[in-house]
């Protein structure tokens, strides 16, 4: 059991039983250990089974990918692959690997490892698989030689590169050695790693404390001075935000994610506390069931959209949010600004008058994530906003899996569902596909929009090689989406973390999911 792993050497670890808050960080020897805290556990570490913000954050520490996103605005930079080419017809991609990458157990990271990893991801058909499964058939990844990998796509897909930072490379030898029967090592990789990244596991308890130690001879090298390099990082799960904030204040935690806007406002005023504030990429929207119930009527949807109090969204975030001025998030290539609905009770009443229920008198269900304070407040705003239309709102909090379970089919989907959809890449195809019929069953398709024209345009633009034509089609798609109003478009909230001032190297990357932080460049500055 996990307890046995806890016995790993605690050399010179000063027990944090010293309650002195000035003693802010953990140490090993004379190196610091940084402590990060968030609310989400990491039940499955396997990079080909699952991804969400906490899981990805850990996976990035332990594994590497062919390329990486860096900077704001996000750009793809070489990582395991030092360069790459595309064929004329856009169907073949060839990557050339660096020569010095190696796994934690010493095995070299070669093209075979890359091929195995991609095939494994496609075969398991979970997690990230959806990103490439339509375009890569099993067997279409080839290790041409020890340092070259070739991908042959089903059809040209310009956005192919944008997904690669999310596909990690595992060590085939270790995985096969630890596989149980036919499971391809899934059981083993749930709590163990077979990676090449800057950290390796020291102690792992996916529900509470995950302790990673730094790999001093990491093949890529470390971005900070060797003397400053941390001994490791710890991710501590604390489900409630109040204790997390208290732990940050007491110095038990160095970086905290997921604090409420009110908490952050308080922390900003304190000395000895830094609060970051960067524009985020994940739009928040209230998805309306376009197939069933009163929301199936486009006029009804427009009425809702014009009754909603958009300014309240900004107030709830204390000004740290931007209203969406177009259906695509700001990071997406080819996005345009459109004329979005704003609160206008007159207009709302006019739209409502065109529906079968001009006097309202109905109750709609609003589904949101349990325990998410901001979403709950948005629900209350919605309730108050729809009252003048004589529409009642029934606020229902559900945990994420139940919420998307319900949203999977138009029969069970609620009238209104609150969702953040992080665009994991800059690819316009991903975002546009969210409004196509193929999105049904995924959490970004809870609106169940079925529009033949959008479907046609999405399919066309996905494979279009002519940039100008492509962008024009996406512009048309965006305008049509606004007309159909399948969702109430909300805001993109700023991404904010609270940290102690001695934490350096923090870099914001808008494509990171919710609370995810790149832990690799972080270090604690000496006094």
């Amino acid at each position: 059991m996990h307890r046995r792993n806890f016995l790993l050497g605690a050399s010179g670890l000063v027990a944090a039983s010293s309650l002195d808050p000035a003693f802010g960080f953990e140490r090993e020897g004379n190196r610091r250990i940084l402590v990060f805290s968030g609310n989400q556990p990491v039940p499955i570490l396997d990079p080909h089974q699952r991804y969400d913000w906490s899981t990805r954050m850990m996976q990035r520490c332990l594994y590497d990918a062919l390329v990486r996103y860096e900077g704001s605005p996000a750009k793809v930079i070489p990582w395991l692959a030092e360069r790459w080419e595309t064929s004329e017809d856009g169907r073949t991609w060839t990557f050339h690997l660096v020569g010095n990458a190696k796994f934690h157990n010493g095995d070299p990271l070669d093209a075979e490892a890359v091929r195995y990893s991609f095939e494994r991801g496609l075969k398991l058909n979970k997690g990230i698989s959806w990103m490439l499964s339509k375009h890569l058939r099993p067997g279409s990844v080839a290790a041409v030689d020890a340092r070259t990998v070739r991908f042959t796509l089903e059809q040209p897909y310009p956005d192919f590169l944008s997904f690669l930072p999310l596909w990690f490379v595992v060590n085939p030898r270790q995985v096969v050695a630890n596989a149980e029967g036919e499971d391809e090592g899934q059981k083993w990789l749930t709590n163990a790693e077979a990676g090449s990244g800057p950290f390796r596991i020291k102690r792992w308890d996916g529900q509470t404390v995950m302790s990673l130690e730094a790999v001093p001879d990491y093949w890529k090298g470390w971005p900070m001075a060797e003397a400053d390099r941390p001994a490791g990082v710890i991710y501590r799960v604390m489900r409630e935000s109040a204790p997390r904030k208290a732990a940050l204040q007491r110095g038990e935690v160095d970086v905290a994610a997921g604090l409420t806007p009110d908490d952050l406002e308080q922390l900003e005023k304190m000395p000895g506390m830094v609060v970051t504030n960067d524009p985020g990429a994940a739009p928040f929207s209230i998805m309306l069931n376009t197939q069933k119930g009163p929301t199936a009527d486009v006029n009804f949807r427009k009425a809702l959209a014009h009754a909603f109090d958009y300014e309240a969204l900004i107030t709830i975030h204390k000004g740290d949010a931007q209203l969406m001025d177009g259906p695509f998030p700001p990071v997406t290539a080819g996005r345009i600004a459109c004329d979005m609905p704003r609160q206008n009770l007159e207009l709302a009443r006019q739209y409502l008058a065109k529906t079968p229920t001009p006097e309202g008198g109905i109750e709609l269900e609003f589904l949101h994530i349990a325990g998410h304070e901001v979403q709950r407040q948005i629900g209350l705003v919605l309730l108050a906003a729809l009252r003048p239309l004589n529409i009642k709102v029934n606020l229902v909090a559900q945990p994420w899996p139940t919420l998307i379970g319900r949203g999977a089919s138009p029969e069970t989907a609620a009238a209104m569902t609150a969702v953040y959809v992080t665009p994991v890449t800059t690819s316009p195809d991903t975002v546009a596909s969210q409004y196509a019929s193929s999105a049904a069953g995924q959490f970004w398709g809870i609106h169940h929009l079925r529009d033949a024209e959008i479907d046609r345009m999405v399919a066309e633009a996905a494979v279009e090689l002519d940039q100008a034509k492509r962008m024009a089609t996406y512009a048309a798609i965006q305008r049509r989406i606004v007309d159909l109003q399948p969702v109430i478009f909300g805001m993109t909230a700023n991404q904010r973390w609270a940290l102690r001032p001695y934490v350096k190297g923090f870099a914001h990357q808008p494509l990171n999911l919710t609370g995810e932080v790149d832990l690799f460049p972080l270090f604690a500055a000496r006094a």
């Binding site: 059991m1 944090a16 039983s17 556990p41 732990a247 994420w400 139940t402 379970g405």
Partner: protein, 335 residues
């Protein structure tokens, strides 16, 4: 004595059977589709159908019940969606933490409650007595989660004297596992730094948990002592010149033992229930926190597992109390 034991054990077995039936009934009243819940968020409809077949959720109810009992006998309680582990593994992991808390709380209630109750009876009608009576009454009425929050606010955040939550500090290494109870294991291993760390973390949760039990113990001991002190044989002993202290100590205390134990047996149940609240506030990694986070996530199997586990625990505790009662009070032997 053996007959008593045998009868009691048979009784517990019967109760356990009833509990299993109840949990089965509760499991099948769920409005959510159990197969979809078990399959998880990324499941396609085929995956859900496969799982439905695999778990036998499309079979008639009696057959499902037989299967359920069979699984229980093999200690198969299902898998938690949230943690991904077998529920039995999770239970084994979290049970010691809850036990530790409950034992500490009960110990505190007895060690503090008995003498204070006795003292309150001896000094009846004094201000001390009145203060004890107020504590006895309010201890039961205080909402555990509220007093927990307030204590956390005052002692942990404002004063900084105690940690805000958890069982140990973040990067502290747990002691070698003997019982699973961190404080005990640290004591056994002689790791004094860990002992003080664990103790500091356990103070507030154990105290809050002990309050209702403390209140009851105070009341019972006080009442019993008052009765006994006024009884004939005590008056006789006093008249014969036995020193008052010995009177209290020997005669009265022994008589107060029985009802106190019965009260503790009763209160144990409420205490087990309160762990749900206290563990949530103090982030204590026990069964209560496990049950709550699973319930919120509609993760069903763990909640059932915890119900069975706590039910069993309670039944065993009652069995122990019964046996101890029978052993201590010869009148009830052979009952």
């Amino acid at each position: 004595m053996l007959r008593l034991l045998a009868r009691r054990i048979a009784y517990v077995a019967l109760m356990l059977g009833g509990l299993v039936l109840i949990t089965f009934v509760i499991s099948n009243v769920t409005p959510a589709d159990p197969a979809a819940l078990a399959a998880g968020p990324d499941a396609t409809p085929d995956m859900v159908a496969t799982l439905r077949q695999e778990y036998g959720l499309d079979r008639p109810l009696p057959e499902q019940f037989v299967r359920y009992v069979g699984d229980l006998l093999h200690f198969r309680l299902g898998r938690s969606i949230q943690s991904g582990n077998e529920v039995t593994d999770d239970l084994a992991r979290y049970l010691p933490a809850t036990l530790e808390l409950v034992l500490l709380a009960m110990g505190f209630a007895c060690v503090v409650g008995i003498p204070l109750g006795v003292l309150s009876a001896v000094r009846r009608h004094s201000w001390f007595d009145h203060a004890i009576r107020v504590l006895a009454v309010s201890g039961v009425a205080l909402p555990a989660f509220w007093i927990a929050l307030l204590l956390q606010l005052v002692l942990a955040v404002w004063m900084g004297w105690l940690p805000t939550g958890g069982q140990l500090s973040i990067a502290a290494d747990p002691p070698p596992v003997v019982t699973g109870m961190v404080l005990l294991d640290a004591l056994l291993a002689g790791e004094w730094a860990t002992v003080s760390d664990a103790a500091a973390h356990a103070v507030m949760p154990a105290f809050v948990l002990s309050l209702p039990c403390l209140a009851s113990v105070l009341r019972v001991n006080r009442a019993e002592m008052i009765e006994v002190l006024g009884s004939d044989h005590v008056t006789a002993a006093r008249a014969h010149g036995v020193a008052p202290g010995r009177v209290v100590g020997l005669l009265a205390l022994k008589n107060a033992m029985l009802p106190t134990m019965a009260m503790i047996g009763l209160r144990f149940g409420w205490m087990l229930g309160s762990t749900v609240l206290v563990e949530t506030v103090f982030d204590w990694p026990g069964l209560g926190l496990y049950a709550v986070s699973s319930a919120i996530a509609s993760d069903f199997k763990p909640v059932m597992g915890v119900t069975l586990c706590i039910g069993l625990l309670f039944m065993l505790a009652n069995l122990l109390v019964d046996l101890a009662y029978g052993w201590l009070d010869p009148r009830t032997r052979g009952a």
